[in-house]
């Protein structure tokens, strides 16, 4: 059962007119969208289960216009919801019925690439993939590669602390961003981090990255670029049991190997994507592992040999090493297209994002199998196995209210299970609106109060992306009441944190 969300409802037309007039004084004409037809395309992000048209949409083109929007909204007491490319999977940029949706899409320039310092200075609307494309001529790349990288923007990546397939070796957004510049809700300019490797004072950058647009509206990002490895080679290994595949993942890590990527797909997932992509997956295997080594020719040869030996010893059946770059890309095409493939075989899909300690993998996958029959829905699994980040894809039909209800409950059950085994409800997609209730389960009240305190320090009136990322104490109290059965919390033996 979901408690009603903050910021949903109908538009107050008088407030819309007043806010629009105030914003028109600081923005050029054409930067404000204020009719129902204009605002409708912004009613959701990539989590389409939740929709709410915004009161207004603004499209500033400069940093000073962003600051001006914030000052105007601040003085009117109007909430602001920042939005990048709208590819977020947790409803982090779901609009507010009484608020302004602040699109950063027009701030889309690569300001500078410094090949010797190995940095790129970017506006927030630069697409993730465009960074590596621009850096390629210097032999450099930007490492985090979320699967939405052709569309998602660096501003959104900063908001969500995005990961991707290669973050096992190269880290998340937090590890690859040196500094950000932006504005608080009151329009005050803030810089966090620096081009140097540390900054005096508290590390505010750690708070801003992954804050889901609730602390600062980021208007400039300085990222570090890495030298592009000469070569990457991918292995594909088949396993007749999911448990064996999970043990093989642990064996690779225990052998002291940190592959560039280490991904798992279960049989339901390979069978779902194969007709769509023709990746050449072993459809008889209960699970496959994709494992990538990168570096110099000699380094890659050495690592591939070691990985192969570990996989064999761990009980892998067939092992294929991609013979060419084209074959390597084909291996990955299946994995990277898992979400679209889900969209092909089912009217709708709901992508979960829990992270668990790797040793719990077999237990969790087994439990998800059981939930498939409980909720009467299929759920193929793709999995960033190396870092324990699960993406179960619940297949459902949004036109069938009962199917939606079951998908929602299925998702909640998976998230609560992730907490139970010592993991987290979100590895890289963010809390947004989607997992707001689960934060009540994952953290105890004093820790949640500390999150609210952080928010107050940046935005005392709580106007920047309200209702997202961090639940209010009241919300958790309501959620707790709804989920207490017979006086007991679910999983009463859990340490709550």
């Amino acid at each position: 059962m979901r408690t009603p969300l903050e910021g949903t409802g109908s538009i107050d037309h008088e407030l819309r007119a007043r806010t629009k007039a105030a914003l028109a004084r600081v923005l050029p004409s054409g930067s404000i969208l204020g009719t129902d037809e204009e605002t409708l395309p912004y009613e959701c992000d990539a989590l389409t289960l939740y929709r709410q048209p915004p009161m207004l949409v603004v499209l500033p083109a400069t940093e000073s216009e962003v600051a001006a929007v914030l000052r105007v909204c601040s003085s009117l007491g109007v909430p602001v919801v920042p939005r990048g490319a709208g590819t977020g999977l947790s409803g982090g940029s779901l609009p507010h019925a009484g608020g302004v949706l602040l699109s950063l899409a027009k701030l889309n320039r690569i300001l500078a690439i410094d090949s010797l310092a190995r940095t790129a200075r970017l506006q927030p609307g630069v697409r993730n993939a465009a960074i590596s494309e621009a850096a390629a001529r210097h032999g450099l790349f930007y490492a985090p590669d979320p699967s939405s990288q052709v569309a998602c923007t660096i501003g959104g990546n900063v908001a969500e602390n995005s990961g991707g397939i290669h973050c096992l070796k190269y880290g998340l957004t937090i590890h690859n961003v040196l500094a950000v510049r932006g504005f608080t809700m009151s329009g005050e300019a803030i810089e966090a981090g620096s081009a140097a490797l540390d900054t005096p004072g508290l590390d505010l950058l750690s708070l801003v990255i992954g804050s889901e647009g609730t602390l600062v509206v980021v208007t400039e990002v300085l990222v570090r670029l890495l030298p592009r490895p000469a070569l990457a080679r991918c292995l594909m290994a088949s396993f007749d049991r999911v448990e064996t595949a999970a043990e093989a993942v642990a064996a690779i890590i225990a052998a002291g190997i940190v592959p560039a990527a280490l991904e798992m797909m279960d049989q339901a997932a390979t069978r779902m994507v194969e007709p769509f992509v023709g990746a050449g997956y072993d459809l008889d295997a209960a699970a496959i592992l994709l494992c990538e080594a990168d570096g110099s020719e000699a380094e890659v040869t050495e690592e591939v040999e070691r990985i192969e030996a570990v996989l064999r010893a761990a009980g892998a059946g067939r092992i294929q090493v991609a013979a060419s770059e084209a074959e390597r890309l084909r291996f990955w095409a299946g994995r990277k297209n898992a979400f679209p493939a889900a969209g092909r075989v089912s009217p709708d899909y709901y992508c979960m994002d829990g992270t668990i300690p790797r040793r719990q993998l077999a237990r969790v996958l087994h439990a998800i199998r059981g939930m498939e029959s409980t909720y009467g829905l299929r759920c193929p699994n793709v999995f960033h196995a190396g870092d324990g980040n699960l993406h179960p894809l619940i297949l459902f039909d949004a036109n069938d209210p009962d199917s939606v209800r079951r998908a929602d409950e299925f998702g909640i059950a998976i998230l609560e299970l992730c907490i139970e085994v010592g993991g987290t409800v979100t590895g890289e997609h963010g809390v947004g609106i989607e997992k707001i209730n689960q934060l009540c389960s994952q953290f105890d009240a004093p820790s949640r109060e500390a999150f609210l305190a952080v928010r107050r320090a940046f935005d005392p009136d709580g106007r920047l992306n309200p209702g997202k990322a961090i639940p209010t104490l009241q919300r958790c109290a309501e959620y707790g009441r709804a989920h207490v059965h017979g006086g007991r919390l679910p999983f009463p033996d859990l340490p709550r944190y």
């Binding site: 508290l202 590895g427 953290f443 500390a450 305190a453």
Partner: protein
Amino acid sequence: MGASTLPVAITARLAEQVRSAAASRRALAIEAGGTKSFYGNPTAGERLDPRECAGIVAYEPSELVVTARAGTRLAELESALAECGQMLAFEPPHFGSGATVGGCIAAGLAGPRRAATGVASGGVRDSLLGVTLLDGRGTILAFGGTVMKNVAGYDVSRLIAGSLGTLGVVLEASLRLVPRPAAESTLSLELDEQAALRQCTAWMASPWPVSATAWAGGRLTVRLSGARSAVGAAQREFGGEVMTAEAAAGFWSAIREQTAPYFDRDGTLWRVSLPANSSPLALAGPQLIEWGGALRWLYALEDAVAVRRRAAELGGHATLFRGERGDVGAFTPRPAAVAVLEARLRAEFDPAGIFNPGRMYADQSH
């Protein structure tokens, strides 16, 4: 990791000390081994010693994560990791045998591997996955967790790294680990400062397995870490004199622990942190340069104003690390808007302003 794994009696005692200090607004000086008490500004107050809260709580090598209580000695932790072929990616300095996990996190200092090009690199905060903290009300808070990817809630754990105890007392932490490199080799070349900086920049712009650099007195020493083939190839390409494994281990330990001859001097030692590929400092005084040029140690002959001005010109900052300080603050002042935000954060975590007052900035409390 959670409050439940902590030793109840010990944390209750620490919490009581905090609550009682807060009630009478009495300052507390958090100190365990005291190995880094020189770092930051002097602070006065009743000592709070978290060393009883010690021990490795969980270590599963195949998860690449360790959870340890704050009072665990850093040396004990590192030897437990080494037994399983793993290590902390950030190669923290101990500055004495009493160094603890909590102090290492609160100081936020990383060693020679900080700017490495490979998987083992980054600062303290980059490896920090979760922290359990005793705040200024005596409440135990737990942030983050034990998994690599976790975006639930604000990343308060990483905020704690380098906060010098001014937000709370670290009780327990979970850290990401990396495997020890399969091969390692150290070599050195005669180069002047300018040439050494250029050389480091060139190496680090290509995928060479550089894991540390140190330049002083006309000699650049570089450590290579990684796959056997990669280290061998780099060694052939770089040239120079190869050190024996034993000599290399001694050399890097002396850089990390500041026991190298360079550090055997009187005067004021500055830690100047700069963007990659910055020009020579061009300030008077002997220098030691690490992190491919991004970290410059300087026994400055000029005053604080000159050092800080030059660091700022180059886009960095200068910390007065050791030695005579007079009335100069240890850290470069930050912009007013940031100072206000920091004060507000501190007021939330430590409302009575009792934790290490003035250690970071004279105006750190409100």
